[in-house]
Symmetry: C2
Subunit: 436 residues, 2 copies
Amino acid sequence: MELQLPKGMRDIHPEDKILRETITKELTKIFEVYGFNPLETPIVERFDVLSNKFGAGETSDAMRETFKLEDQGSRKLGLRFDLTVPLARYIAMNPNIKLPFKRYQIGEVFRDGPIKLGRYREFWQCDVDSVGSRNMLADAELVKLALDVFKKLKLNAHIEINNRKLLESLMLNAGVKKSKMQDAVIIIDKLQKIGLEGVTAELSKIFDESTIEGIVTILKIEGTPQQIFDQLEPMIKGADGREGIEELKKIFTYFNKKQKEMIKLNLSLARGFRYYTGTIFEGFLNDSQVTSSICGGGRYDNMIADYAGSGEYPSVGISFGLDVIAEAIKIENPDQIKTKVKLYVIPIKTTKEVIQKATSESIKIIDKLRKENLPVDMDITSRAISKNLDYVDKLNIPYALIIGKKEINQHKYTLRNMKTGKEKLVSYEDLLRKLK
Amino acid sequence: MELQLPKGMRDIHPEDKILRETITKELTKIFEVYGFNPLETPIVERFDVLSNKFGAGETSDAMRETFKLEDQGSRKLGLRFDLTVPLARYIAMNPNIKLPFKRYQIGEVFRDGPIKLGRYREFWQCDVDSVGSRNMLADAELVKLALDVFKKLKLNAHIEINNRKLLESLMLNAGVKKSKMQDAVIIIDKLQKIGLEGVTAELSKIFDESTIEGIVTILKIEGTPQQIFDQLEPMIKGADGREGIEELKKIFTYFNKKQKEMIKLNLSLARGFRYYTGTIFEGFLNDSQVTSSICGGGRYDNMIADYAGSGEYPSVGISFGLDVIAEAIKIENPDQIKTKVKLYVIPIKTTKEVIQKATSESIKIIDKLRKENLPVDMDITSRAISKNLDYVDKLNIPYALIIGKKEINQHKYTLRNMKTGKEKLVSYEDLLRKLK
């Protein structure tokens, strides 16, 4: 029998998992500093929850790509395709929850879709959502949080921001009918991928020439936020457009100068999901070969209430892509650590007596170092020192400690720096100082 | 539409998730101190991998209870029911891996089985395995690791230890045929649950009276390890029994006096899985209403090689149950923290001017405290101070900071201790000192 992984799925080897753990640990810390608490929902949801029309919608990619299963009672279930639908279900099922409810969730999601380079059928999302406030402070907070993530993970990146109310109002003015609005949004969302020419071509399948011209005029507006606001003012018609631009202006009052340098108002930012109702944002790396967004989100004021069937749950959220962030960090720093182990203790194997003494001395040292919370390991094979040093080298462990008869008698041990190959005799205290 | 969770699954609310995160963080730290590195395998595996006869086996509970699914290409898949089978598959697919391979994995597993109190269809396992060494040091290391887990999590618990080779040899002597050995092991494994009478009753369905008498004699042997070894010596026949007792003796030489006090040699410990070949161990709480084991594992020297079809992969592993550990901690300390937030800033809402000034002062303070990595939050609703204090109280946030006109003018803010209800004026520096 040939052993295989499911198509489109993969193992995360220790060296890659170490990097991911470092990233999620940093994310978690920042999420908590911003007042978000962790929530866990099951990986399996009822199919009717996942296919609810207020979520991704029955005809969306996410829904078409849902892994379906049944339990032994023939209940129809599915694997979650995002963390937003489970959040909506959670809020709807817990109506007494205190609002604002600020939660984060980090976990696997599944899409049974086509496989491309870097696209998998099981992948991680790291979601942060504020439920229960219409205040633009909530939106601004998530943008600040994202900027903090970039800083802490040393990612050279920026945030692009827009507003759906504004965008849709502008498109309405340009001649896009309400019934075709979602089609237009989905096409515009592809701008970064297929360029203005590609977008125009796709638009021409649905819209007439003057409408397309109107849309392209909007997409071409560029400049500082103030410059863009000035250009837009005469174009704004109707309450929605007015509300959209005022929301954007309000958000920008919450950023300081340094933050503003990393935030770009981009009128062509659309975000595909139907459920966004206001602010939308997306984060991108600067001058990187990784061009996909590293985070994205926005305000969805109706979705949860639609799920719940009653109540008001204005919400805003952001989602970080663990895969793309890990990839970006690896491109910048290809030499990631391969192991957490800092020292490998090798008892020398000559005579039976030496083996026994060296082993028991090694155990004593290992136990003491572990009590100091130092990640250390020791040889438990019967192989010779050269093979052991080869293992230490392959695993990129920085130090080896060699213990033989001479070392035991002197109460000093041979410490080998694996990078330089230099060896010196050290006492236990020297060793402890070195590793701490 | 009524929203529901899948049968046997649940949400982990923030206050419970906070506790679980604390536990897994502590586990991770200890696993790494003992030289184990993280690995991630997908939640979905190919069905033929899960049903492989060298794993749990086609007729086992785990296999019968596997959630089955298919991808759009009609490939047969399943949700993993443990983390050991995926490890075996991983090793088999990566034959060039450096041995010993020491990995830990923390993640969800799934069993589509009957629902009981405290038993779910989706639950977490925290597994630690050493692949590639027959040395009893590897077994001893996992026992020490478990004792460290108990200590760090303040669990009053102990480890029971036995050896399958020894147990099976003793049973062979008692008259159990090789073909019936697994049946006997599964029945003995129930001793803690159904008592000696229950075990005798179940044994009598398969074995004759003298065999049962022989088995019961073994199960009744008690005492210190040395006392047990002394009683066993005259009973040992055959190479396997000899090897088993020598392995046990060897392991005990690696423990210090304090460790030995927390380790009990228990000849009736059996562990249900067929694949164990040597040392087996299980951890239990002392004097607790939680009677199920909190961790368990053992040596399986053949399983991975059987999967791989070649090579030698002697292994030993231990698995911690997150649910039962969290439950035990909650019983001991029912007042777990409900939020990570330490301070909630409330701008006072009187006139429009005060609202604006208080809000921008609050943002300034929040931004500064977050820069210090302090988990703090602020009011972003339009509600009055009494409702805000109620929210802070319900969420168990320890401090509220109230900012109004008076406070802004004085550059001092009203800090309210939510437990005592006492308020005092503090400067930003006072506040920072208090929270750090």
